[in-house]
Symmetry: C2
Subunit: 306 residues, 2 copies
Amino acid sequence: MDSPRRRRDHRDIGTMGEDALVRRVTRDLPTTAHVLTRAGEDDCAVVRRGRQLVLLKTDAMVADIHFTMETAAARVGWKALCRGLSDLASSGGGLTSEALLTLAMPPETPLAWVDGFYRGLRKAARQFHCAVVGGETTSMPRGAPIVISVALSGEVSAKRLTLRSGGHAGDVLCVTGVLGGSLRGWHLDFTPRIAEAQWLTQAAKPSAMMDVSDGLAKDLPRLADASGCDFALTPETLPRRRGCDTTAALTDGEDYELLIALSPRRFARAVATWPFSRVPLTCIGRLTPLGSGRPLPKGGWDHFAL
Amino acid sequence: MDSPRRRRDHRDIGTMGEDALVRRVTRDLPTTAHVLTRAGEDDCAVVRRGRQLVLLKTDAMVADIHFTMETAAARVGWKALCRGLSDLASSGGGLTSEALLTLAMPPETPLAWVDGFYRGLRKAARQFHCAVVGGETTSMPRGAPIVISVALSGEVSAKRLTLRSGGHAGDVLCVTGVLGGSLRGWHLDFTPRIAEAQWLTQAAKPSAMMDVSDGLAKDLPRLADASGCDFALTPETLPRRRGCDTTAALTDGEDYELLIALSPRRFARAVATWPFSRVPLTCIGRLTPLGSGRPLPKGGWDHFAL
């Protein structure tokens, strides 16, 4: 098992981009007949379990990278669960789910931090009907940063399952809520858009949906790629958080809003009957036929997409 | 959300035992009507998904604690998946499963290590029909140890589901394989006892089953406690790995063998028809009525149980 099958690569992972590393490690991963979609291809993996469909998703956070020890621990616990719930929501699920938690901590971690973390996690779990069925704590060497990993399993009905890949040229693109400026607080306190996604999958039947977590400039191309489309964005219509310009709305990230593609007729009906008065639903552009290009906002798309 | 509900505890987690910490954080965790058993109560959590039952389990490994960077990375990848598969097996499942992987690594991690880790993981996944449906890699600060977390979801039929809690006084206790000395290599290369557990749940209907991962001295009391029994052990019949004494067989841990309780009649039938010539099935004692005590092996039980 130990003999390398290919020439040994003497680089370390810090010298290659994260995308290249992910492509390298996810190739040839074993699959089974139960697997309809893998997590790398969409917000969640989709697995058939008897007659049921199940969404699976894991998400990790590391201290000093994704949060700091100055952040109130309860907000970290809330966020740790809600990030994955946002992915379940955007796939059409999230009404009920189960979470498995791994919490790796160095011995100097204050007990008060652990108590606070679990307080926030429990609050989110109760609010969104998520059962925390396993909570492993494991030791790290002194000085190591806290690592949090949350794995979620959730039901989704075949009728509501909505992938990134279902979009069609001509579909209206829209987003929930407002974009940008998330680091001012929303990224720790956001509400996963479960209710909105459930309403949409029932009343408006989106052709494609995903959550905006890396910023629209990165996530919209992913939805378009998966759907085999290009797109035209109308940057002046982007719903922006107060004080944010277009660049911030496109690139700040951690918005945890829904990006939706749906037919013009369905969009019109959705807007007319949209019941969430505090969460706007805003048209931001269109999916266009592949080959029609992705016209740049002022300042250049590549600059935004990084 | 940030205001503490109880008096702030100024200890850090290094000053309290792991068991006390786990008890503290797992109390009051939200649950739902779908959850039949939580992971803390058994090897796996058991969740109802429509008409299906699903096993959920997460398991973490940290460099310099659970493995060293001198260990061949492919063996670490093999073990990372097989530990959880051993838990699915001992609950009566593991025939097909899905894995979600979180791999948190510092930038100086050699790419060759990552390649090797995934090679071992893929080999185990193929051999045991496990689909790796999500593989997240995330950055750690320089100098931090690698953290691996694997979450598993697997089918189990209601007929085969076997918990720790089903044992009865009078049941024969037996184990598969041999115990002790795992650190000489078995702990990295072991075969999860999926085939044996499938045979047992089909042909012998154990009343209780679990995997021996922390050593029999810790795990047998857990099965007895869950079943509301005491037990009598016959230390002289313990199947030991070559060169191991009774203490080693009881306490070394990482055996990844099955501990089984079943009626004497079923045990007799199981032994008579046991088809695995390379894996012994050995009687090691009995479950006894609660109150009859847990007679100490020579040297004292508390010493073993630590």
